[in-house]
Symmetry: C2
Subunit: 475 residues, 2 copies
């Protein structure tokens, strides 16, 4: 019995129902397959009431999970059965590919109604994926205010602060007192509800400071805002890339931040809950990009996935053929001494492994802004030291092993030396390739692996077979 059982049983007062129990979700907040099946079976049986009863207590994020976990051909019926429960919040949580499929089936007016219930950033996320014609129809069906906000957001490039921000925020003039701020907040029902700080602005609407809500709550009504506000704040330019926005939130531990336009005016606010999934995506995408798996979304249409991955594989086929042509130079030696062909993949493969290690570390260090011009030389020295240590260790291991196993000391010396050389190549390529691409403003995660693998394959074969040839090993 896990600790979750313990606290679930004692946490709630006896008369309150336990809202989500262990039959529904496992310890990792994943919906249990049995539960998913139960809901889908109810829908298939036409028992919508049973299905609705099962999901009634779920969080919108979990309902979105349920829809994603359902087979694609059962999703439409599921959503029909859960009409009213699958609300705008659920759509905002849905995977974009799954959502796109659903939205494509809807009338413009339905999409407009959905968007109206959401914050600007979530509404934009839904509308930006539509094609131009549908977009226009949906915008026409919206209320003028919402429409203006969405249209303005759409003028900013995709994946920038302008698309992420909300326009609903609390901005007060510097000369107000705490009491005035509180009265203002209590006055209007149409004010935003999800805010964590109040922005203080100059008469021309430039941010001059911020007040955490906790500071306002803990200050006397008579205190001037200008006395309790923090004057230092992180401002987000409206066209900043979302990856940089995410890094700012992380580095400066922000809960929310003011977004300013080119002239420094406050135009919106970004809150951390809109950023956490970007932090996760941007950090997690390196492994996908390095492997050439595109954005790696499991809900992506399969034709798109095939195209993305095949493109990458064909590029790799080119480098593999280049490496093969190096082997081709030594066909004579191989025909005389086939053992060379047996051992050569060990040298190239181990170089590839070592190169990938360095590459992974360097790509992450670049992505998190830890590797800058200040420490690049130090990092190169560090990686070469590691490459030399590991190369010598592996070279001795394979060299001595080979010499003994095949009773051929020269063969052992050749493969050992090739191993050292290729590890150094791996370390050097593993850092120089991504650093060079980064300086050329090319994302190193996207294109480094192909160059590093090419270097370790080509040099692995060349150093081993070349040394074998010059030492007369095959003669």
């Amino acid at each position: 019995m896990s600790e979750r059982d313990d606290f679930a049983s004692t946490l709630h007062e006896p008369e309150l129902p336990v809202s989500v129990d262990d039959d529904v979700m496992d310890d990792d907040d994943r919906l249990r397959p049995r539960f998913v099946r139960e809901v889908l079976d109810a829908v298939a049986d036409g028992d919508d009431e049973a299905a609705r009863g099962l999901v009634a207590e779920l969080h919108p994020a979990d309902i979105a999970d349920l829809i994603e976990l359902a087979p694609a051909d059962e999703r439409a019926d599921l959503i029909t059965a859960l009409a009213g429960i699958v609300d705008a919040d659920v759509y905002a949580e849905l995977n974009e590919h799954v959502r796109e499929d659903m939205i494509d089936e809807m009338e413009p007016q339905q999409v407009a109604d959905l968007a109206a219930q959401l914050d600007t950033d979530d509404a934009v996320a839904i509308i930006e994926d539509l094609d131009a014609e549908d977009q226009l129809e949906v915008l026409r069906a919206m209320e003028p205010d919402d429409r203006a906000a969405v249209e303005e957001a759409l003028t900013y490039p995709e994946e920038t602060a302008g698309r992420l921000m909300q326009r609903d925020l609390i901005a007060v003039p510097e000369h107000w007192k705490v009491g005035q701020v509180i009265d203002y907040l209590r006055s209007g029902d149409d004010l935003a509800d999800d805010f964590w700080e109040v922005f203080v602005v100059s008469p021309n609407h430039h941010p001059v400071g911020t007040c955490k809500l906790s500071t306002i709550l803990r200050s006397a009504r008579s205190k001037p805002v200008s006395e309790i506000m923090a004057r230092k704040q992180t401002l987000i330019p409206v066209d900043l890339d979302q990856e940089e926005v995410a890094l700012k939130f992380q580095k400066y531990a922000l809960i929310s931040a003011a977004v300013v336009d080119g002239s420094g005016r406050l135009v919106g606010m970004i809150t951390v809950d809109d950023i956490v999934h970007i932090i996760q995506e941007e950090a997690g995408e390196d492994v996908l990009l390095l492997s050439g798996a595109g954005d790696g979304d499991i809900n992506e249409p399969i034709a798109t996935t095939v195209r993305t991955r095949l493109t990458w594989l064909v590029i790799n086929l080119g480098t593999a053929m280049l490496a093969a042509s190096v082997v081709g130079l030594f066909q004579g030696e191989i025909a005389k001494f086939a053992l060379l062909a047996v051992l050569m993949p060990i040298v190239s493969g181990m170089g590839g492994n070592a190169g990938t290690q360095t590459l992974a570390v360097v790509v992450r260090a670049l992505a998190t802004n830890q590797l800058t011009d200040s420490n690049t030389m130090r990092m190169i020295a560090r990686e070469l030291t590691i490459a030399l240590s590991n190369g010598v260790a592996l070279g001795l291991l394979i060299g001595i092993g080979t010499a003994i196993l095949f009773d051929n000391p020269l063969l052992g010396a050749v493969i050992g030396a090739a191993m050292v050389i290729n590890n150094l190549i791996a370390g050097l390529a593993g850092i120089l390739v991504p650093v060079t691409l980064d300086r050329a403003r090319i994302d190193p995660a996207v294109s480094s692996a192909v160059f590093v693998t090419m270097a370790t394959d080509v040099m692995g074969f060349f150093s081993f077979l070349g040394l074998a040839a010059v030492t007369g090993l095959a003669g």
Copy 2:
């Protein structure tokens, strides 16, 4: 000129100095090498005042960056020169390896003074890395209250909610009115300052609801708390793994959450700013783990890095030798027809690339809880479809190319067929290996790659050389 110049020049009123300008940081919030050098030169010249003047306006996170970017042997002098500026907040932001080096140089009393200025979670982060003896000395030097809080946190396993939480939080009884809450917050100077919601608790200190500060600010003083609080909340068990804590924050868009002990009592609070770096680390570590680069920290002691990476390389050496022994079975064919040795790395290498693509996608889908028992079969079918499509495309490409280039249709047919087979093996291994490890509660990112590469190497060589042998290609 970037947009940052624009807004920096217009944002601040003319009489205010621009606090951090473009000479100090680049567009990505990285300290410029010239600035880092300037500070370090000032320190080397003994001109502490100049160094202090340069960094005075920096955020603690940027001062931490400065220390990390300084060469290891210049850090001690830098910190001495910046005494008072390098405060507890800077230590909290420092990379743990760099911090450990600094802390090792300090007296227990100094460490205790640092810890006293920090929230419990940051104090714990500093103290938990000390060895047992130093830990005891530091704890002895602390005030009883702080000491008790840190000691309690240390009773929870590393990387759990108990280590991340702060004990300073605001909890109020259900029968209070909004006015009472506000008066309570205004009353005490020793209350926490960084909080975003107020927890409502039962008489036995079990959480029964939460109030966002914005809700409190917008409600009349006479409103009972029980009327405005949200009754549904996400509770964090105190011994929950930090990765699961991070996923909860992300999934449910939490700003802060109550931490409860085994009996359901409120024992602490975790805020999102303590979680964002964990979200980033956990998402980013897959690429490092898959490549066998350990935690990939560029500040890790070099001996540790060498050991971690070498372990992985030696394991890979084993699988490379296994693959080589498969080639060894076909030495006779290779001696007769050396072209086989030229082409065989293409088949194994392309399989490795395809397998890595699938592996990356599956590992990310598992880590983000998107792949569960509900959709595993669908995912296997999807990956096999992709593998077959790409295998056939690549097989035709290389097969026809080989047939024409070497004027040998049989050789083309053999390499084409081997390519299809190895792509299917890659797709199958790329999903079955991580899913199986995950079900066995082994982190698939740590150990999958070795099995997948082994499968694609062994089967790549075997299918190509085997088909060559049975078709009499080398005869």
